[in-house]
């Protein structure tokens, strides 16, 4: 079984998100980027599948990312964690690529690759124009499901669980190629030491495939990006831990809450 894992990086939300002067886009050149946390979960789930085995044969894990700049480390990290290959889709791409364009590039590439399973993050912090799993499946006309966990391969078929509200879940079996938007892996994403990544960089290489830049179908005109103007904000307690504990205790007494 051949599993593709789609990876991308996103602005690091730990840092301030600077905007361009127009206020319509992020100042992408000054931001730091980190792998999308849900894609990390997808990669981990794929690696766990590989370790589980596929019943009727091994599960191969192939990491794929679109080259929007500085993504080599992310792909080498996937190799260091255990991916069988890492492919960089190159072309006239930049960080302004929309989700729709990404999905179109990935669909064009995946169409000829005979993958049985495509895993990616259920969402990303910047997918304003749609989540990759759904867009990609729409272009490929493949079945797909979002908010997925607990993927397994049994007798050559993919099984997975989809989450709904209230803790309810549905279990499904896929009859053919399927795209899954992973919410969470069965285990926390594995850590790989930087020394191991450097070693992989010396001994392995990334495959590169040149792709065309698609038109921005479904283009969204963003009038402005802005920081939320909260209509309310918590009244903040200053002071040390004991002072805050006393303030909470006084509040609970006032509201007649607690034992």
């Amino acid at each position: 079984m051949r599993a593709a894992v789609l990876l991308k990086d996103v602005p690091d939300l730990v840092e301030d998100l600077e905007l361009e002067e127009s206020g319509q886009a992020l100042a992408v050149d000054v931001l730091s980027y980190v792998p999308s946390e849900w894609d990390d979960q997808a990669l981990e789930e794929a690696l766990l599948l590989k370790e589980d085995g596929g019943g009727t044969g091994p599960v191969e894990v192939h990491a794929i990312a679109i080259d929007t700049g500085d993504i080599d480390a992310m792909l080498f990290s996937a190799l260091a964690k255990g991916a069988d290959s890492a492919t960089k889709l190159t072309g006239d791409f930049d960080r302004g690529l929309t989700s729709r364009q990404r999905a179109r590039i990935l669909a064009t590439y995946l169409e000829g690759q005979a993958f049985d399973l495509v895993l990616t993050g259920v969402q990303a912090v910047d997918d304003l124009d749609g989540q990759i799993a759904g867009l990609l499946a729409g272009y490929l006309h493949w079945p797909h499901a979002s908010v997925v966990r607990d993927v397994a391969v049994e007798d050559g078929q993919v099984r997975f669980v989809q989450e709904y509200a209230g803790g309810v879940m549905g279990e499904f079996r896929a009859d053919g190629p399927v795209v899954l938007g992973i919410q969470a892996a069965r285990k926390p994403p594995r850590y790989v030491p930087i020394a191991r990544i450097r070693q992989i960089q010396r001994t392995s290489s990334l495959s590169e495939v040149s792709m065309e830049r698609p038109e921005d179908a479904g283009h969204l005109a963003v009038r402005r990006l802005y920081r939320p103007e909260s209509s309310s904000h918590a009244a903040m307690w200053d002071g040390d831990v004991d002072a805050v504990a006393a303030a909470i205790r006084a509040l609970l007494a006032e509201k007649q809450l607690g034992n």
Partner: protein
């Protein structure tokens, strides 16, 4: 503009709160945009749920499934969209909305706008406001006049009430769509506490750092007469069962006190607790979104605060 297709979800024969919110906005936009509202629901109870939904008409998709099957719903909704050529398709940003929205947009060549929390007509143009970058930024977007699928965050505006008028509902047989076979529906295990019934929740997030620290939260909850709940990362780490999870894929809670400890306040979590009567949040990041919904807050270390507060509550000191 073509009709406003509103995709509705129901539970136990009742439209969900998120669906009633979608309907309220669809009806409001219908007047402003002179576009009729067509409501679509799935399953054996669909027709009954649509009967007084206030839409101009309804489509009840039935047959071929007992539970939600993404491929079947998607193909059936695609048939409705191909027939009606809507100006807008509204879905809630639930599992169903995330399944159907982007895929439908790609297949039907419609624009897709996700995480919508505002939707209004300004100077004759329909504009959406969306929560992006984990709620750290808002994006104001022109909704294309050529048609768009919007997934709307639950709780973005008030729900509407049931209409007195009867909505004409036509049946539609579910489309055949192979690819996914449902094998079972898994309901939460009984036996654990029901956090939706608790008056006081001590809710922990990533800031708890280590499963051993849950003892501190348990002791505090006991001192308060409450129970421990959590945000998603704590469940994903396997530190607490899913029955304790608050948020989009967990429980929606409205306790008298929600004490959020080490929870940053991702939109998916806020969705499940923002209507709590009293919210007290402790997080080391003063810019954490949780403080935008909390009534009181502080930035002290939760691992120090929990035992200190427990001691004060128990000892009266």
């Amino acid at each position: 503009m073509g009709p406003i297709v509103t995709v509705l979800e129901h539970q136990g024969g009742e439209l969900t709160q998120a669906s009633r919110e979608l309907l309220a906005k669809a009806r409001e936009l219908s007047d402003a945009l002179a576009a009729p509202v067509t409501a679509v629901a799935f399953g054996p109870e669909a027709a009954a749920c649509l009967a007084h939904c206030g839409a101009a008409d309804g489509v009840a998709v039935t047959g071929g499934f007992d539970t939600y099957v993404p491929t079947v719903w998607e193909a059936s909704l695609r048939a409705v969209v191909d027939e009606l050529k809507p100006g807008l398709v509204l879905c809630a940003n639930t599992t169903l909305g995330m399944d159907l929205g982007a895929s439908l947009a790609a297949q039907a060549d419609l624009a897709m706008i996700a995480y919508v929390c505002g939707l209004d007509v300004n100077e004759g143009k329909l504009q959406a406001v969306c929560q992006v970058y984990a709620g750290k930024l808002m994006a104001e977007v022109d909704v294309p006049t050529t048609g768009a699928v919007l997934t709307v965050l639950p709780g973005s505006w008030p729900a509407g009430s049931e209409s007195q008028a009867e909505t004409p509902v036509r049946p539609l047989s579910a489309a055949a769509a192979p690819g996914l076979e449902p094998t079972r529906l898994i309901t939460p295990e009984a036996g654990d506490v029901d956090i939706t019934r608790a008056d006081i929740l001590v809710s922990v997030g990533r800031g708890i750092e280590d499963p051993d620290n849950l003892e501190l939260a348990e002791a505090l909850a006991a001192a308060l007469g409450g129970v421990v709940s959590c945000s998603r990362p704590v469940v994903d780490a396997g530190w607490l069962p899913r029955t304790r999870q608050v948020g989009k894929s967990g429980q929606t809670v409205k306790p008298k006190l929600y004490l959020a400890l080490g929870i940053s306040g991702a939109p998916e979590h806020l969705q499940g607790m923002k209507d709590s009567e009293l919210i007290v949040a402790i997080n080391s990041d003063p810019g954490a979104p949780i403080f935008d919904v909390a009534h009181y807050g502080a930035t002290v270390d939760i691992l120090e605060l929990m035992p200190a507060l427990t001691e004060q509550l128990e000892g009266g000191g």
